[in-house]
Symmetry: C2
Subunit: 164 residues, 2 copies
């Protein structure tokens, strides 16, 4: 199982890639994609699609982990997140990936034991598990790795076939 | 100029394709894509992508017209519309289409002269322009053709390069 966890955003997208072999877990890749707001929306969607597809092919990804979105104060941001999620669903379909989605509470609880934990607390657990992780924008990456880890630990119910 | 107008939906997507040559306008194709709700979300996104891409290639589409979405009562529907729009932006980028977006009021005003017109009023104008149009689900198609016509008539400001 090789799982890609993504925390998508039109400005910054964090990602983490983990491989499970027996009892061992390997951190294959992690990082983020930063897109310039001077580019048009179709251009950025194209860059996002190409970037994620390249990771899927390079690492022979089998599973995709995402966080379920929630409607915040800004409905336009919610819609833009929808654009990126549409691309991820398309890639899941094209490359036959098993899809796992978790609520923010599930992810936090799975890492820290507490669903109401804050970003810093989640980051501390991720950094404890991967002490070699070095990254200028650590929080973008630790969030994505938290999603990836949650997907790795809760793989019994992939819901590629769940009806929406 | 060959313009594709789309009214996307996870259940029914209406579309119309018009070609402008000098002063003449030709109706090249119209119809709808119906997707079974028993299929998974990634599958439906994949079907939607393949269907629209096939139209773009077959008819050598140069322009894409869409209606700007608005947040209704159901935020989940708004998010799902975002998935489909993400796919359309990707296709606009892949096939270098000029993108035109109009508010529902702009579209209605451009067809009927009145921004507050209802669906049936818009449909009457579309059917007057295309009297040969036969279709079981007329309203799905007339809505899409209204978007296409609006795109055809207001082509001076394509905003492929507009910053979001």
């Amino acid at each position: 199982m090789i799982i890609l966890g993504i925390d998508p955003g039109l400005q910054i997208t964090g990602f983490g890639i983990l491989k499970k072999e027996g009892n061992k877990t390997f951190l294959l890749d992690y990082g983020f994609l930063k897109m310039s707001p001077t580019k048009s929306l179709p251009e950025r969607i194209g860059i996002f699609h190409a970037f994620i597809q390249e990771k899927i092919i390079t690492y022979k990804i089998t599973d995709l982990a995402l966080e379920t979105p929630f409607l915040g104060k800004n409905s336009q941001n919610f819609l833009k997140l929808g654009y990126l999620r549409g691309i991820l669903y398309l890639l899941a379909n094209t490359h036959t990936l098993l899809l796992h989605e978790f609520s923010p509470r599930e992810i936090k609880a799975s890492l820290t034991g507490f669903g109401g934990a804050d970003k810093a607390q989640v980051a501390r657990v991720v950094l404890q598990l991967f002490p070699t992780l070095t990254m200028p924008n650590k929080l973008d990456v630790t969030d994505a790795l938290a999603i990836t880890l949650c997907g790795l630990w809760k793989t019994k119910n992939p819901y590629l076939l769940q009806i929406h």
